[in-house]
Amino acid sequence: MGNWIYHPDKFVAALTEWLQQILGHPLAVELAKMAIGAAALAGFVSVLAMALIYVERKVAGHMQQRLGPMRVGPHGILQTVADSLKLLAKEEITPADADQFIYNLAPLVCFVASFVSLSFIPFAPRIQAVNFNVGLLFLLGVSAVGVLGVLAAGWSSNNKWSLLGAMRAGAQILSYELSATLALLSVVLFAGSVDFAQIVESQRAGWWIWRAPVVGLVAFVIYTISSTAECNRTPFDIVEGESELTAGFHTEYSAMKFAMFFLSEFVNIFIVCAVSATVFLGGWMPFHVGGFAGLNRCFDLLPPWAWFFGKVSALVFVVMWFRWTFPRLRVDQLMHFEWKYLMPLALTNLAAGAVLVTAGLYLFR
């Protein structure tokens, strides 16, 4: 059992063996594994979204000198459960002139984009829902599909405010997608692969954020900013613009459809922080100092997935910190910032990274 905690891939191997005994046929075993994996991921997504929403409310509360949810369950732990039950029971109000098919499809598109993106992240050595050799590339593509959901929602709601929000979203997400990709590519240069597992493996000697001098740090900062914009979070939440558009593209949605948007927003936060942790902070790699074997063994006391979740939690906290401190940028300032500041910086960073890689000027090569 203890072995499984530190080596969850052994648990998967044991599971495969057990399934082999029961089912026999390798194809059936594969299908069963896929089904179990999908179910596990779905369960993980639900619990994750609930936990993240609760954490967000608590973090917001404490930053604002108040407590956040306290009543439902001890310290309000069951608050999101209660909210989910409420959303399940709510009445679905559809605007009369809404484009019904697209209106119903939009939240699904957003949710599926987030859900699929989650399948590429390595949580521990050899624990990945999908082992894909162009994982990073594919993830960037799939998460961009979320924009389609936002645009569809804004358009089909038959509401000018939603349309405004959706148009802003389209412009914003597409623009910041570029900087985010360029920042990630800088590290791909160093790691030599777009496979997530390979990227994590390449950080065995050290995390890219400090191992690639300056380039790693700059890429990390650029990625953090761009991914905050990708998730439509303050300071880039002009899309939702609670003070202007009330709820932007999802104003006209209620009950479960709204829950889908809400869920996908928080899963997106997790995904971008997970990608950031994987690419820049070493994913599940513990922090090792070369030569200090005893210290390294201390660090190894924490299982790899705990390292992973710790890093992701720290990044998620930073993203939430941004939300509750900063006001929002106006949409033209946002675009100006991206196209005139962030992208040239990202391109320069990429070029510098290329120079460093070719010259071999990075630590512990």
Binding site: H62, M63, Q64, Q65, R66, L67, W321, W324, T325, F326
Partner: protein, 180 residues
Amino acid sequence: MNIFRKTIHGIKGLLSGMRLTFHYFSRPGLVITQQYPENRETLELPPRSRGRIELVKDPQTGHFLCTACGLCLKACPNNSIALEKTRDPATKKMRLVKYEYRFDRCTLCGFCVDACRFEALRMGAHFENAVYDRNELTQDLAGDSPPGAAPGPAAGQSQPPAPPATGDQPAAPEPPKGPP
């Protein structure tokens, strides 16, 4: 390089804002939320708090100090008070029969208390006045067990908790507690 300096200055501003919110986040002892229904025991409202009005009883005799003069009625801006009085055959003085107070009209302005010359009116500190039936908001403050009128000190001092509302008032869900 002006742009460089401006960027650094901007980043410093953003980071100091973040430091301020983290300052409050890392000190949960600074939280100012009061857990309201649970803190009823210790909740202390200032003595001058303006809540629903109450008639004051004379501590010695136990009768209301109100002489039914009607000054409060005239002072009220929106007719929240109506009086019914009768001449007491024994003392030949006017005596209060019914003091109808319409809480759904009252704006808690305090003119009635201001106008009363006999200190027979007091603004109690009851703020839990929600009811399910609007008719319950029309109260007779001089009834047998009027809400809130406890035998006790006059305005300006703390009062013992009020007895639960009974008599012509349907029972309130919970007896509201006055300031300790």
